[in-house]
């Protein structure tokens, strides 16, 4: 059964298109990672699913209810952690969670038990009577997660649940989300690739408002390995070079440009050695045909480019501490 069904979603802020034709489905109990660089449209999509923002077009259904026709029914089933945890500084953790539970329509008799449960799950017992404004960023983020959990919703939408946390807290939050698997259907957004690998079963990659890929983790890694692009620049392009390049096994989709050629290498497998061999033969062919090889560039395909970008930002985060 599809818990979340997003079809043909558009959102524009004036002339700027934030998201463009977003389509995806999430099954009950699935954990889906929403991956993309900053400004890709992750938060916008999440806000639309939670009903706090109206799209310019398209529709969203949660548990069979349309977000725009039955917003109350949808909101009863969603726990949402926005980018910044929505907490009141002048409330204590416990009274804040009680307020949220009541606001989300938890029955009066169950409020106390639900608050206890979410405090326990997020390990907030030691700060339960402290004012939220006096808590560290990590604790506040946990209060934000507790807030999303407190009504025991079927769907959890977590916008960058680990941002701003130190490595130990990140590990804790990841463990917590793993624990929640199965009980809840979870969508979480991140710009950090390993995070998705650690927690999600399925990945949706979004860039500049478009979904560029959605697949299971394994499916994506095989596809990623299958696409490398080589660009060469030669002094004297000729038919002879072109022919010898095309004759190399593994080279496909040869495109002639002004001063050279671009071609794709489809090795069909994850073996890096095979790709390397093809690249070597391309270089040989270019030199042997005396076309005057000036440049050979190996480029990853778009999907990997995005991934590279993402993995680099993870590296800077762990080494430099910058987010």
């Amino acid at each position: 059964m599809d818990m979340i069904e997003v079809s043909g979603l558009f959102k524009s802020y004036g002339p700027i298109q934030a998201i463009h034709d977003i389509n995806f489905k999430v099954k009950k109990g699935e954990v889906v990672g929403f991956l993309g660089p900053n400004g890709a449209g992750k938060s916008t999509t999440m806000k639309i699913i939670t009903g706090s923002m109206a799209p310019s077009g398209g529709s969203v259904r949660v548990a069979g209810f349309d977000v725009f026709e039955d917003p109350i029914e949808v909101k009863k089933r969603i726990g949402y952690l926005p980018e910044n945890p929505p907490v009141y500084g002048d409330m204590s953790v416990e009274s804040y969670l009680k307020f949220v539970a009541k606001l989300k329509g938890v029955e009066a008799s169950r409020v106390k038990a639900q608050v206890e449960k979410s405090i326990e799950k997020t390990d907030l017992g030691s700060v339960r009577r402290r004012l939220i404004q006096n808590l560290s960023k990590g604790y506040r983020q946990r209060v934000g997660i507790a807030q999303a959990l407190v009504s025991d919703p079927e769907v959890l939408i977590l916008d960058e649940p680990t941002s701003g946390l130190d490595p130990r807290q990140v590990a804790e939050v990841r463990a917590l989300i793993k624990e929640l698997k199965g009980e809840h259907t979870i969508i979480l957004s991140t710009h950090i690739l390993p995070e998705v690998q650690a927690m999600c079963e399925r990945i949706i990659i979004i860039n500049r408002g478009h979904i560029v890929a959605q697949d299971s983790l394994e499916g994506l890694s095989t596809r990623m390995a299958g696409a490398t692009q080589v660009k060469i620049k030669v002094a004297r392009p000729s038919g002879e070079v072109e022919k010898s390049l095309q004759a190399i096994p593994g080279v496909s989709a040869l495109v002639k440009s002004e001063h050279g050629y671009a071609m794709a290498i489809a090795s069909g497998g994850a073996a890096d050695g095979a790709t390397d061999g093809v690249v070597e033969r391309i270089a040989e062919a270019a030199v042997q045909s005396r076309a005057g090889l000036l440049e050979l560039r190996r480029e990853s395909a778009d999907l990997e480019e995005i991934f590279l970008k993402l993995t680099t930002s993870e590296e800077t985060q762990t080494t430099g501490g910058a987010v």
Partner: protein
């Protein structure tokens, strides 16, 4: 309805646990006490005068010498203190980024708005209740007619209700608390300036129209002890209109 009470309860609890309310209430009582005391002195003087003259003019009227003065001061103070308290209603939610919590909870924009209105009214009316202690305390020393006092307080409750609704609307428009207070003050004062326009418009039908829009005429009627349908309608309309506009602004958060 559940949402209304939950939101109002949270707001009230936070207000009564914060120093803001007590600061405002404290400052209000200082002003009220000073002027009330002066009013009592004037009344004592006027009564003594009237006694010396044989009491033929029936003596000074405590309602107009003491209470009416107190009530107009309470009204003046409320313009400012209600603006200061109602600024928190929505700007605080936006600054805390907790507006998204309210908007993603299973409550409608109407429930959010009514909850905020209720919290604002309760806070403002708590101040009005404090101001009622002054005439009430006089009951220990003097007997007076309850009627005009109660109708005056009805007027006071209604007019502070208007200030709350106006302040709430102002706070829904902006994220800046300063701007919200300034807007609320300007709107509240504008409510009173309609009276000035009424005086500058002598020819009918405009003078009639502005007379009905004049908050001063309606309020003075309540102080005089006359509760009119026109007055009740006027105050109720201002509150309903402002609440409706706020509800539209809250709803529009989704569309921006």
């Amino acid at each position: 309805m559940r949402g209304v009470l939950v939101i109002a309860g949270k707001d009230l609890r936070n207000l009564f646990l914060s120093p803001l309310f007590y600061g405002i209430a404290g400052l209000c009582t200082i002003a009220w006490t000073l002027v009330y005391f002066l009013g009592l002195q004037d009344f004592a003087q006027a009564s003594a005068m009237s006694m010396m003259q044989g009491g033929q003019d029936g003596g000074a009227n405590i309602h107009f010498v003491v209470f009416a003065r107190h009530i107009s001061l309470v009204n003046l103070v409320m313009i400012f203190s209600v603006s200061a308290m109602s600024m928190r209603l929505f700007t605080e939610e936006k600054r805390n980024q907790t507006m998204s919590l309210l908007l993603t909870s299973p409550v409608t924009a109407t429930e959010i708005t009514l909850g905020k209105l209720l919290a604002g009214l309760a806070a403002a009316w708590a101040l009005v209740a404090i101001s009622f202690l002054y005439p009430l305390s006089l009951r220990a020393f003097a007997s007076f007619d309850w009627g005009p006092l109660i109708s005056s307080y009805m007027g006071l409750l209604l007019i502070t209700g208007c200030y709350v609704a106006i302040g709430m609307f102002a706070s829904s428009l902006t994220e800046s608390t300063v701007l919200s207070v300034v807007m609320a003050l300007i709107f509240n004062v504008m409510l009173w300036f309609v009276g000035a326009v009424a005086e500058a418009q002598p020819e009918p039908p405009w003078n009639k129209i502005f007379e009905h829009l004049n908050v001063g005429t309606h309020f003075v009627n309540f102080i005089k002890g006359s509760v009119s349908v026109a007055g009740l309608t006027f105050f109720a309309s201002v509150i309903v209109l402002m609440t409706f506009l706020t509800q539209r602004v809250v709803e529009s958060n989704r569309w921006r």
